[in-house]
């Protein structure tokens, strides 16, 4: 995200703004779930499904922001973003699959499935600096 802002292109700056617009609500809900008991009353009730959908919706928005960045950028940025996204998604899926099987076969402790999203972006941040060519 920082590199998109530093690039200084209109598409890159729109991407940063859209990312903040989607991630701030996501983080606010996640943090309030962890540090307060504001949502405890709805756990196990139908409203719990609404909360789950509400906290997941910004993720759809973030994927849209990434696709918009690719659509509005030149061919190099488009190819580079796609390559970084695919590698990060592949590594995150491999990690999640590994841990899922570890839970099944090795009695590994359970990890909530929603961690796949922050894991994906953590991996994206780690791999992106090393993927600098579109070839």
């Amino acid at each position: 995200m920082l590199s998109a802002w530093r690039q200084g292109t209109p598409a890159g700056r729109r991407y940063v703004i859209r990312t903040w617009a989607f991630m701030v609500p996501y983080m606010l809900i996640c943090v309030s779930m962890m540090v307060t008991d504001a949502f405890d009353d709805i756990i196990g009730k139908p409203a719990g499904w609404v909360l789950a959908a509400a906290v997941s919706a910004p993720i759809i928005g973030q994927i849209w922001a990434t696709l918009s960045l690719m659509r509005e950028s030149d061919e190099f940025v488009r190819a580079l973003t796609a390559k970084q996204f695919i590698v990060a998604a592949g590594v995150a899926m491999a990690l999640a699959t590994f841990w899922g099987f570890a839970e099944t076969f090795a009695s590994a402790p359970h990890i909530p499935a929603w961690l796949i999203y922050p894991t994906f972006w953590a991996v994206y941040g780690l791999v992106a600096p090393f993927i600098r060519t579109s070839n």
Binding site: Q7, T9, S73, E75, F76, V77, N135
Partner: protein
């Protein structure tokens, strides 16, 4: 892909930013082309050729020749 893009740009005393604006791409894209980190699409290669008034193969080395 080996190319003479940087040479042609410097001959005209253009910055990467200026060349990018003329081509409708980012400075990063121009830098990636010059450092062979990106192979241009046919469309972009033709745009570059038109801008410099040269055939594509004068600018980009044909790897299959």
């Amino acid at each position: 892909m080996k190319n003479r893009l940087k040479l042609l740009r410097v001959e005209r005393d253009w910055t990467q930013e200026q060349l990018g604006q003329a081509l409708g791409v980012s400075r990063q894209a121009v830098n990636a082309l010059e450092t062979e980190k990106h192979d241009p699409s046919l469309d972009l290669a033709y745009r570059i050729a038109v801008l410099f008034g040269r055939p594509v193969e004068d600018i980009f080395e044909n790897p299959h020749a």
